[in-house]
Structures are given as structure tokens and as C-alpha cells.
Amino acid sequence: MRIRRLKLTGFKSFVDPTELHIEPGLTGIVGPNGCGKSNLLEAIRWVMGESSARSMRGAGMEDVIFAGTDSRPGRDFAEVTLVAERAPAEDGQDRELEVIRRIERGAGSAYRMNGRDVRAKDIALLFADAATGAHSPALVSQGKIAAVIAAKPTERRQMLEEAA
């Protein structure tokens, strides 16, 4: 799988539609404290099916919806799209892959894959087959690099299973 683009609308501090092209190699993300760098990276884990609000640093999952500022009203929904390309598939599925997660206040999350409604489980399976996913050890949140060291040995074995 090749991940090519990330699109956000109303997700945390990214209230206006934002698009990040993800190219091969090393892409640096810079900016002052509090400007939204970690929010941008969290959008990737979220669209891949993250189900814990705490790991999105919120009290409830609706905390990912733009809450408003002094000059802008809060929003009613947040939406993140991940555009990827699958390895040449045997089963004749589209190579182009577009996964969308959308959350509305009071209505919970919904996922779509290439235009069709799917369950969270389908999304988790899709990314697990591609050696990634919301809990991939390759997605290291801020301050969590040493978490691999602090984890219990059985939790670390699970990382190994993902690599098997």
C-alpha cells in the first residue's frame, strides 16, 4: 500500500479544508507550539479507526470536532480522508483507495471506503493487512517514544505479531 494524501475538514484546529500530500522519503512538519502539528498526525490514526478518545487527547470522541475560537463558531462534524494506492490486487479490486471517516455531534462515527459504507472492523482489517493501522508501532505520538521501552513484555510481543 502507498499512502498518498490526507484531507481534513473540521478536525480539531483544522477547521478549513486542508490537504497534505504525502511523498516518498522524509517529510518534516514544523511550526510553533500549539499550532496544530500533532493534530495533523492524529488525523491519520483517527481515519485508520482509532476508537479511544483518550488517545486522541480528548474526554470524548467529539472533542476532535472543531470547537470554535474567539472569532469562529464550532462545527457540527469532522471528516478525514486518506487516499492510498493498493499493491496490484489479485482480487480485481480498485487500486485507488479512498477511506473517509466522519463524525457528527450526537451521531457518532461512520466510515466509507471508495464510496461504500463500511464498518470500523473492515477498516481495521484493511490497514492491518497493509502492516499499519491506528495502533501501529510506526505511529509514534508526542512524548510516547519511550512507551515501547515502558510497555509490558506481552504488549511488546503484540508488536511482533503485527510484523509477522
Partner: protein, 162 residues
């Protein structure tokens, strides 16, 4: 199940040993399956010994040593089963200047050995200068994040303008 896990263990352990001695320019480290004869029930232990030091509990390693050891393990997992994307949010924060360079050298090599795409958040000028491209996140309108593409000079200006 079991055979695959054992094969993965061997592969990850092999990469981990090599990456650790590269990052620490010496020393030695390895992985071990503990607590059970059945790999599917066992725990994964990390043994890490920086150059010249005695093998001690991982928790006694310093902040910078733990960050480097964790990077060696994460990259060893990639090399075994390449992930399409890797996100590192300020993992270079605890590193001193010399280790920043070694970390960036390793990143550079990883991009040559795998197809993984890397998104790296950093405040460190050296790390910034080693990136292939840079994006800036600004909040010119307070509370509203915007993404802009910057060149290295732009990044310094962006940070200075806070």
C-alpha cells in the same frame, strides 16, 4: 501462527542488533522471548547495553538512550514487515546534537531500504535541514491551523515569527 511468529522474531532481532550498534556506535543489544515456551504466550524482552556500560534494566537507561533504543526496535519491525507510513512526533526532543546526527543518518538509510513514507514533527534545526521537504503549520488566525509548504529558509522565518 507459531512458526510465523518465530520467523518474525528472528528477523526483527537480527535487524535490532545491527541498528542498535549503528545508533550507539558500539555496545550490543538483543531481543528475547520470556515467560513462556509458547511464543504466542511469551513476552518480548529487550536487552540493551550501551558501549562500555554493564547490562542493566531498561528503566536505568537515560532519556536519550531509551529514545534511540526504541527507534532501533521500531525500525527493526519495519525492515521485517514494511509499514506504508511512519509518523514520528518530536522523537528527537531528548537527543543531544551527536545523536540527532546519528538518528538522521539512520532515517536516511531507512528511506533507501524501504518504501515507507515518513512524517516527522521536529523543532530541531538540524533535523529540519535533513528533511527532503518541509511543511509548516501556522495559526496566523488564532486557533485555526493552516498548512503551508516551506523551504528551509522559510522554516526558520516561520519559527522566528512566532
Amino acid at each position: 501462527g507459531r512458526a510465523r511468529l518465530l520467523a518474525a522474531f528472528e528477523a526483527v532481532d537480527g535487524h535490532f542488533r545491527r541498528l542498535f550498534t549503528t545508533l550507539f556506535e558500539g555496545g550490543q543489544a538483543h531481543l528475547a522471548l520470556i515467560d513462556s515456551d509458547d511464543p504466542l504466550e511469551a513476552g518480548l524482552e529487550i536487552m540493551a547495553q550501551p558501549p562500555g556500560k554493564k547490562l542493566a534494566a531498561l528503566t536505568l537507561l537515560s532519556g536519550g538512550e531509551q529514545a534511540l533504543t526504541a527507534c532501533a526496535l521500531i525500525f527493526a519491525l519495519f525492515l521485517t514487515n514494511p509499514a506504508p507510513i511512519c509518523v514520528l512526533d518530536e522523537v528527537d526532543a531528548p537527543l543531544d546534537d551527536a545523536n540527532i546526527e546519528r538518528f538522521c543518518d539512520l532515517l536516511e538509510r531507512m528511506t533507501q531500504e524501504t518504501d515507507t513514507r515518513y512524517l516527522i514533527v521536529t523543532h530541531n534545526a538540524v533535523t529540519m535541514s535533513r528533511m527532503h521537504r518541509l511543511f509548516g503549520v501556522t495559526m496566523i488566525e488564532r486557533g485555526v491551523s493552516r498548512l503551508v509548504s516551506v523551504d528551509l529558509g522559510g522554516a526558520e522565518r516561520l519559527l522566528a515569527a512566532e
